[in-house]
């Protein structure tokens, strides 16, 4: 099938304003958008710039707006998009070049929620592991799937409006540790995320859940954090 691929272009060294470049490419329906971009870069225009790493939906590098919807280029098939495909950088973060955005504000927010395991208690008597039942693990299983691609945060209207807002990805990271029975810093984290730019800024738009390429129930996780502030129940 012949695909018309429209790609957002911006080179800060040359362009005063962004523009689109259009490429006509012969593609298979089972090709991924990433394959098309690789083809353009390899054979048509070597200056096209985008992030990619594993190319199999695990690293989260190639998040972009494909036909208006945030997704990973390596997980989006041409057959699901049709013959006209438009690719833009994800919204709400400064564009550095073409499809590459500055991820620093996103990771700054991520770091604010202390996204690491905190437990200062002595090890159990056997000195080996802090055991956890399957049910306790299940409690935060969904939020462990996050690959920090930023599809959710950059689809969130509250984040577009103000990048002070922690954003769904940071809240999911907080959820992952707060509900982990082995972690001991739930109170510290909930205090951080309940600040002015945290939980209360979520307007339940559900864009994050729709955008997540890992099918994480992001809005549900944020809802559980909101309930936690009311009930205090970590189980």
């Amino acid at each position: 099938m012949n695909v018309t691929l429209k790609v957002f272009r911006y080179n800060p060294d040359v362009d005063k304003k962004w523009h689109y470049d259009t490429f006509n490419i012969e593609a298979q329906p089972t090709d991924r958008v990433l394959d098309l971009l690789e083809y353009v870069k390899g054979y048509l225009d070597g200056t096209l710039t985008f992030r990619r790493s594993c190319a199999h939906g695990v690293c989260g590098s190639d998040a972009m707006r494909i036909n208006g919807k945030n997704s990973l280029a390596c997980k989006t098939l041409v057959r699901d998009l049709g013959e006209k495909i438009t690719v833009d950088p994800i919204l709400g973060l400064p564009v550095k070049k073409d499809l590459i955005v500055d991820m620093e504000p996103f990771f700054d927010n991520y770091k604010k929620v202390l996204p690491w395991f905190i437990n200062d208690s002595p090890l159990p008597a056997d000195g080996k592991e802090r055991l956890q039942s399957p049910e306790q693990r299940e409690r935060f299983d969904d939020s462990t799937k996050c690959i920090l691609c930023a599809c959710c945060t950059t689809s969130c209207p509250s984040f577009w409006a103000s990048d002070d807002y922690l954003g769904p990805a940071a809240l999911v990271a907080a959820h992952r540790f707060i509900f982990d029975s082995r972690d001991e810093a739930a109170a510290e984290r909930i205090e951080i995320i309940a600040e002015t730019h945290g939980l209360a800024r979520c307007h339940t738009a559900f864009n994050c859940t729709m955008a997540c390429p890992r099918d994480i129930q992001v809005t549900k996780a944020i809802g559980e954090l909101k309930m936690l502030t009311i009930t205090g129940k970590l189980e």
Binding site: A161, I190, E195, R201, L234
Partner: protein, 141 residues
């Protein structure tokens, strides 16, 4: 195993979250008060003597002046203290709900801390003045 519950002072239950809950509950309260006004109007004979627009007008603000131009022959039950209280409750809840909604949206678009404080102050003044004017109308006319 340690308790996995967070005490009230350590679960982030702050002003932001209280207002978040308030906005949800006040929406439910508005629906309840609207239904009270709507059902009350029907019980007082609105079905025979009012058109639907007048019934809805009453439901949104149960003020006796809203029935003066209708075909209601006896206005007495419509002027009861109960309806003044329902109207006042609806006014206060709706104003607070709406103004808090505005504050939430403003918080998204104003990036400075002082800017937010100023908008919050203006919003609170707006809420207080609107509520007072509304109450004045409900209790004096």
């Amino acid at each position: 195993m340690k308790s996995r519950n967070l005490p009230l002072n350590k679960r982030g239950f702050n002003f932001e979250m209280i207002m978040w809950i308030f906005t949800r509950l006040s929406a439910l309260a508005m629906y309840t008060l609207l239904l009270i006004g709507f059902i009350g109007a029907l019980l007082m004979g609105a079905r025979e003597q009012m058109n639907f627009a007048d019934v809805m007008r009453w439901a949104f603000m149960p003020n006796p002046s809203h029935v003066i131009n209708t075909n209601i022959p006896d206005i007495a039950p419509w002027t009861a203290l109960f309806w003044q209280l329902v109207a006042s409750a609806l006014l206060l809840v709706a104003t607070a709900h709406g103004v808090h909604g505005l504050v939430v949206i403003a918080d998204d678009y104003i990036v400075t801390s002082n800017g937010r404080k100023i908008v919050r102050l203006i919003s609170m003044l707006m809420m207080a003045s609107t509520s007072l004017i509304g109450l004045y109308i409900l209790w004096t006319f």
